[in-house]
Amino acid sequence: MSQVLIREVFPVAAGAYETAGEASAAIKRKLKQLGVDSGVLRRVSVASYEVELNLVIHSMGGTLTLTVDPQQVTLCSKDVGPGIPDIDKAMTEGYSTANEEARSLGFGAGMGLPNMKRNASTFEIQSQAGVGTSITMGFRLDGK
């Protein structure tokens, strides 16, 4: 018997502030229906919203993929550019390259990536300037 798996791909358009947050809202709804522990749920909520907003603000468009297996929730964000030239710098708290529009909407505090890393059990980021960025976050359902 194959392992039960929930997988859903959410496309996220660049600059689409009007729909920003819809993917993470759908993800939350699913996890609540699955009965995921409240603590884990909260961490996924925070990280999924941050990663979705990153796609809206910084990327040229991409996808957010939710995968759930009986052990963990995995969020995977992939975009088609522009890529992060210096990942270490991008991971620094308070560092942001958000534009004026994003800042005027209250984003760009430079806490996005650090918040994701803090909330996830595992965090991987790969990026190539001019190509794109992929982020994979794992959230163990036992909360570890």
Binding site: L5, Q33, L34, G35, S38, G39, L41, S45, V46, L141
Partner: protein, 435 residues
Amino acid sequence: METEKKRFHSVRLEKDKCRGCTNCLKRCPTEAIRVRGGRAHIIDERCIDCGECIRVCDYHAKVAVTDPLSSISRFKYKIALPAPSLYGQFKSLRHIAQVLTGLKHMGFDDVFEVARGADVVTRAIREKLRQPGMPRPLISAACPAIVRLIQVRFPDLIEHIVDVRQPMEAAALIARHEFCRKHNVAPEEVGCFFITPCPAKVTAIRTPIGHETSAVDGAISVLEIYGLLSSHTRSHTMDESLLTATSYGIGWANSGGEAVAVCPENSMAVDGIENVIRVLEEVENNKLSDLTFLECSACTGGCVGGPLNFENNYVARSSIRRLVEDRERTHPEEQVDVSLLTKYPLSSPKPILPNSAMQLDDDIVEAMRKMERIEEIYKRLPGYDCGSCGSPTCRTFAEDIVRGYAREMDCIHILKEQLKIMAQQMVSLAQNTRE
């Protein structure tokens, strides 16, 4: 899941009046209503007694069960606990004491303002806000429909709910104690009756969250006493000494009143259950972590918007503002003695538990299997969200099929498609057998 023997709900359906339309179905914030056999049904586990369905039902088939005024005779001594929103129900009222005096003439031995309870609760919450390590924002526990909404739809925010009992509970505790001491009577002889603007409070009295029993003995709706009280407010000389609450406590009747009293520096107030849901989503996303206190009311305008009130909520709101205008602006922090906070049990001894009514299954693997099937079925549905099947949306319909409460043919659009195919088959069958 919560293991209450039988869930009590104030909100009920009057079957004979129900026409099986989709008004309540579409508006229920917890998707707790289904139409089956031409009548609405309320799913007990999901209902939060917010009263939205009472408000939107054109046929008055949704009602709130409250206690009749005659029920006060169960007790030798009766105390009325008027919600501050009651003061906004009378257009020509000049002074709040007219309402309080009127209540005494209706058969109550004493009146204790819930606004005074709100003063005490204000002080208690302010103390909580000073404690280190509190989640941000702390969410008000004053609206019981919101507390239940959080249990059902936002279980991850339960820890944000401030652990202080509602003003009506504080009022009942203090009222009973003071009355017994003053008149030297036993507590069992004293009945405390809340004059309620909403069904959620009725449910909160019968099946409290966070504590075993309520200090309130019954709830009489504003509508029930409105006519009688209205005439009593005009016909007597008033006793001004009955009014002791601060203008802040009275202000709790309106949306924003609690926030201003509790934390004017850094709070926000949201009213209307759909708005509350949107803001709670933001709290989940950590977007409001700079905020200290969040007031949420299920009803538009706050308690003045309760479905059991008489007056339009905007009119009531401005009436209350007018009535407190010339009252001295003493803050509850100066008025309420800090010793009251330890004298009465204002915190909850029982934790607030999540309500798993939205969960597909207790076992996550089984829940995942069900979710896969829901997605499969959902893809075949038209996505009109018309409600004709009796479920509020196509998605909930797919869920209902998987939970075993509906069949795919309950969707009239799928049925139509099937009939079309069958008709075509019949035609070709007839043609093939002609010779």
